[in-house]
């Protein structure tokens, strides 16, 4: 998926979501459908790389929905490569309370034994 402001890369047992900047409202709608329909309840671990991502309450609402589904089933969700303002925004909205966070994507992959 490359025509939107985000990319979703599924690998065996791992899904990585990366952003290409601020998402439009349409992008956020598509991202929500994509994650909720295909990945939120799957057994895959989800890593969200916020390197080029911009926090917004619309995005936060998707993260909380996904966390709600995944935490019920004890499945992994991790955030990585957040700058200070993204970290503050996600912390204030409670997202980071329920997810793992790593400074680098490689460290998140290593944590889940996907260090290839």
């Amino acid at each position: 998926m490359t025509n939107y402001g985000f990319t979703i890369t599924p690998e065996h047992g791992l899904v990585t979501i990366r952003f290409n900047g601020r998402l439009s409202r349409n992008d956020i709608k598509i991202l929500r459908e994509e994650i909720l329909n295909n990945y939120s309840a799957s057994t895959s671990i989800i890593i969200i790389n916020m390197n080029l991502g911009e926090p917004s309450s619309l995005l936060v609402s998707i993260f909380l929905e996904v966390l709600d589904i995944r935490n019920r089933d004890g499945k992994g969700l991790a955030f990585c490569e957040m700058d200070r303002s993204t970290q503050k925004a996600l912390q204030a909205t409670g997202v980071l309370k329920y997810a793992l966070s790593f400074d680098l994507e490689t460290k998140a992959r290593e944590y889940f034994n996907y260090d290839k």
Partner: protein, 136 residues
Amino acid sequence: MVIETRERKIKFDISFFSEYEKTIEEKFDDFVNELDLSKEEKKSILTVTMELALNAEEHSKTPDHKATISFFFRDTSFMVGVEDSGIGWTNESKNKDAFRGNGLKMVRALMDSILVSDYKKGLTVTAIKEVKRGLR
């Protein structure tokens, strides 16, 4: 004695029928061009401006589907204002969806103070951030 204050301000309208995010981003980039702000400060202020605009779009029920954005900078204070002519701060405008309503939490986390006034028709939300450096 004359005390020189250095300030910069801009005010513009956005329409909720348009892709107003682009307008905000362009006006913001132009506004901060002469300011010596860190990357984090810029990102925080722009994120907050987008959130306040989104809040106005979703909750104001303004008849003209518009809001007025203002940026004001003096010394080391950056002020963002979003004004609409909608229904103001009512119980009706509070979101019932448990996953929403995070905009204000984000604004509080990223800025130093927030003021909400609905003494006249509509709602004006003003958020202020103290930054490290001022005008170039």
